[in-house]
């Protein structure tokens, strides 16, 4: 029987950009016509707080949703989801960034940024320090798009946290701000590409110009004069409106 695929955008990405959700689903459906999509949290924040019982309940409900969709292989766009879902053996989990080099980018986006005057510093997500295929995938995507990139000293398997981790922002915001500022400080260029919407928010808070890699794939070509999209996640109202919109996008995309 053919493998059934699923896509899970996570929390921060749908709160950040319904447009990116819509375009990514369309792209994946071009490759996997039977694609299922699940929008729900993986429970990582609950886990980080130490709420063991609540996590079990919440994570269980997510796994049930994925099973309902009869998914064999789940594609995830969030690195925390990636680690969380790999705990389940009901299906396999793979990162979108690892899969993209395997299925290729659409012809129309390849080489689109060859003439861009921007050099992007790459900020890797610290929860996947050990996953070289994800690091390689991100660099492959940047190269396919035509962007030039630079690496900070602590990168890939040594990547530093953006400052968002561990749910410290609401209880020790000053410290979080310091961690964010320091991570931005070590970026060799002003422009930073990330592959986690929460990391993007941190990079902006730390003073960098930051784009999500999906912004670069689906959005306009970035040049020195471009301004990064606003820090939507800093505004709870906008973030929840977007999350709701993303839900609508999913409903419309898969009927």
């Amino acid at each position: 029987m053919a493998i059934r695929h699923g896509f899970m955008p996570g929390c921060s990405l749908p709160s950040y950009s319904p447009e990116n959700i819509e375009k990514t689903i369309a792209y994946l459906r071009g490759v996997y016509p039977e694609l299922s999509v699940v929008q729900k949290c993986c429970g990582k924040p609950t886990k980080s707080l130490g709420q063991v019982d609540l996590l079990q309940e919440r994570f269980g409900s997510l796994i049930a949703d994925i099973k309902d969709c009869k998914v064999d292989e789940m594609l995830v766009a969030c690195q925390n989801c990636y680690n969380m879902l790999r705990e389940s053996d009901a299906f396999t989990t793979i990162s979108l960034w690892e899969r993209m080099p395997q299925i290729g980018l659409p012809q129309e986006v390849r080489g689109k940024a060859t003439n861009s005057d921007v050099v992007f510093s790459i900020h890797d997500s610290c929860p996947v320090r050990d996953n070289h295929a994800i690091h390689d995938g991100i660099r492959w995507i940047m190269q396919e798009l035509g962007y030039k990139t630079a690496e900070p000293e602590r990168t890939r398997d040594k990547a530093r946290c953006c400052g968002f981790g561990g749910m410290i922002v609401p209880v020790n915001p000053e410290l979080a701000k310091k961690v964010m500022g320091r991570r931005v400080q070590e970026m060799p260029t002003q422009h930073v590409v990330v592959y986690c919407a929460a990391c993007r928010s941190s990079m902006l808070m730390g003073g960098a110009k930051a784009w999500h890699i999906l912004d670069l794939i689906w959005g306009p070509v970035v040049s020195q004069s471009s301004q990064p999209p606003e820090n939507v996640l800093a505004s709870p109202v906008k973030a929840w409106v977007n999350r709701y919109k993303s839900k609508g996008v999913i409903a419309r995309s898969i009927k």
Binding site: Y32, G50, C161, G166, I168, P170, L175, R182, A251, I254
Partner: protein
């Protein structure tokens, strides 16, 4: 909120508290018997904070200028630049630099504890006696130091020539004892004019720190009458008069240690035309420090390596030469000193012979205290207590061989005496390892790319000039050399995670400290585990790969368990709402693709 932590938290905490290297002493500090914070004061010197450097040194040593000149600096042998590159930091010279530039009485801590009503006699004003007196005085006891000599400092004053340690440096640093209110009975010889029993009757405790002032002269054919002396007596006379009455013009010194170098170099300064050192050891095995040997050679001292004096030849009662026999080996198979002589002989002319082959401890107890090799009193090695109640031994009389070690024994004896005077156990709760030189557990590899940088040397006065007088011959570091030398320090302390993690810096000096305190209190402020990014960056750099995030995560679970399933921190209310919504029907959707 009192939290009951799970066993997992305690086991992780124990592992970290026990094995974290964050509080392990650097090699130099562990090796120093007094554990002077060399890393710390060298850092101050590098930063130009010389007063801070002096304060730091003075926390452990009351004579930084003296030890900066004459300490045998075991710290330098332990220095990582020595073990890695054979070019140790010039730690002693840096100490002298700080003392010369910045030490002044205003920086001295002259506070003493409340009067205990107890009186202590210390016999001997050398480094061991002085240190014991200082510590006991600071503990609130009244202290009197007895010394048979009219001057203070023991061997520092009468054993080390002034060209290495000017008297004014020593006298200035000894004035600290006056500031503390320590009394002196100089020119009083305990064991002769006053007996130990008298002292025991008059004082509540007695510290014997009278050193090893009996020069050893072996029985040798022809050794019988004039023209032969020993290093202790020779150097003492030199210290008082810069002369030696029995000395002729052609001096032969027997011995291969620093004391032999002192004798030969002093003899030249006191007017000898020739000074020659005869020693059993071959050139590369000479026990003397390299720089002392080189300075002696530069001043014209001649060396006969690998010879043993077999007979002193006399004419008209005066020595005219010695007959030497070659020495084939010094140590036997069991590692015992047991020289084997060959058949080759040689003659060396001389009119004066100085034996510099060691010194013994006199017995001032009139047989009450048993002695062992070298006359050292038999003591409890941990407490320095003797079989006589209230009598403790320190310094060379208890087995030390260098000044800084003598001081450590002085401190140890004082600690014991203080406990004795207070009626406390001499041993309970004491960490004897920290009272002596020890090997640190620190073992972080040398950082990649560490360069072998050359050691800086201070300038010496020109040999032709310095051999004519007893003025100090080492000029010490200038600012430029001191700064450069200080910047060679490899700062052997494990701060890997502290350099990486901003959060740890908000709460502690190192994880070892943080988790030790946790273990002691069995509690931790919730903000500590909840400030961790759980990013594992610390684990990446930790030489032990400690998983601090796991420990903090486990603590969080226990906080939640103790708080009805919720984080104890108010700010996390936002996360609760976020999570509720993220799982709510309003914001979630599952869309199954076509079959």
């Amino acid at each position: 909120m009192a939290v009951q932590f799970a066993e997992k938290v305690y086991s992780l905490a124990k592992e970290i508290a026990e094995d974290c290297q964050g509080l392990e002493a650097p090699f130099c500090v562990a090796e120093c018997p007094m554990h002077t914070d060399a890393l710390g004061y060298i850092r101050h010197i590098r930063e130009g904070k010389l007063e801070e450097a002096v304060r730091s040194i003075r926390e452990k040593l009351f004579l930084p200028g003296t030890l900066g000149r004459i300490c045998a600096h075991p710290c330098e042998k332990a220095c990582r630049r020595e073990t890695e590159f054979k070019q140790p930091l010039a730690i002693a010279a840096l100490k002298r630099y700080a003392a010369d530039k910045a030490d002044r009485e205003e920086l001295w801590d002259v506070s003493v504890g409340a009067d205990t009503g107890k009186r202590v006699a210390v016999v001997g004003s050398g480094p061991a006696g002085a240190q014991a007196a200082i510590d006991l005085r600071k503990a609130g006891h009244k202290v009197t130091i007895y010394d048979r000599l009219p001057v203070r400092g023991g061997m520092l004053r009468v054993g080390i020539p002034a060209y290495r340690l000017p008297h004014k440096v020593l006298d200035f640093e000894y004035s600290y004892l006056d500031r503390l209110g320590i009394s002196f009975q100089l020119g009083v010889e305990v064991g002769k004019s006053v007996t130990l029993d008298t002292l025991r009757a008059q004082y509540d405790a007695v510290i014997l720190a009278h050193g090893a002032h009996l020069g050893i002269v072996p029985p040798v054919n022809g050794g019988g009458s004039g023209g032969v002396t020993n290093a202790v007596e020779f150097l003492r006379e030199i210290a008082f008069t810069e002369k030696c009455a029995v000395m002729g013009t052609n001096v032969l010194v027997i011995g291969g240690g620093d004391v032999a170098m002192d004798c030969a170099r002093s003899a030249l300064r006191a007017g000898a035309e020739k000074a020659r050192i005869v020693c059993l050891e071959n050139e590369c095995a000479l026990p003397a420090s390299r720089h002392e040997q080189e300075a002696a050679i530069a001043e014209g001292v001649q060396f006969d390596y690998g010879w043993c004096v077999e007979e002193i030849v006399r004419e008209n009662g005066r020595p005219v030469s010695v007959r030497l026999k070659d020495c084939l080996s010094l140590w036997d198979e069991t590692g015992k000193f047991n020289p084997v002589l060959g058949s080759e002989t040689s003659m060396a002319t001389c009119d004066t012979i100085i034996y510099a082959i060691g010194q013994r401890v006199d017995d001032i107890s009139r047989g009450q205290l048993p002695q062992k090799a070298g006359g050292r009193y038999v003591v409890d090695p941990d407490t320095l207590a003797t079989d006589l109640g209230g009598v403790f031994v320190a310094g060379d009389a208890a087995g030390s061989t260098i000044a800084v070690e003598a001081m450590a024994l002085g401190r140890k004896a004082a600690l014991s005496a203080d406990r004795y005077l207070r009626g406390q156990s001499l041993t309970e709760g004491r960490n004897f390892k920290l009272e002596r030189s020890y090997k640190t557990e620190y073992d972080v590899p040398v950082p990649e790319g560490t360069e072998d940088l050359a050691r800086h040397h201070s300038e010496l006065v020109d040999a032709a000039v310095r051999r004519t007088n007893f003025l100090e011959c080492d000029r010490g570091f200038d600012e430029n050399a001191a700064n450069k030398e200080a910047s060679r320090c490899l700062e052997c302390e494990c701060k890997e995670c502290m350099q990486e993690c901003l959060m740890l810096n908000e709460f502690t000096a190192c994880p070892g400290e943080l988790f030790s305190i946790f273990l002691a209190k069995e509690q931790v402020d919730a903000i500590v585990p909840y400030s961790c990014n759980l990013c594992n960056q610390c684990t990446l750099v930790c030489p032990k790969e400690f998983k601090l995030a796991d420990a903090f995560m486990s603590m969080r679970k226990d906080f939640v368990r103790a708080n009805k399933g919720k984080s104890p921190l108010k700010g996390h209310g936002a996360i609760d709402i976020h999570q509720k919504l993220s799982f709510s029907r309003v914001f979630t959707i599952k869309r199954k693709g076509r079959e």
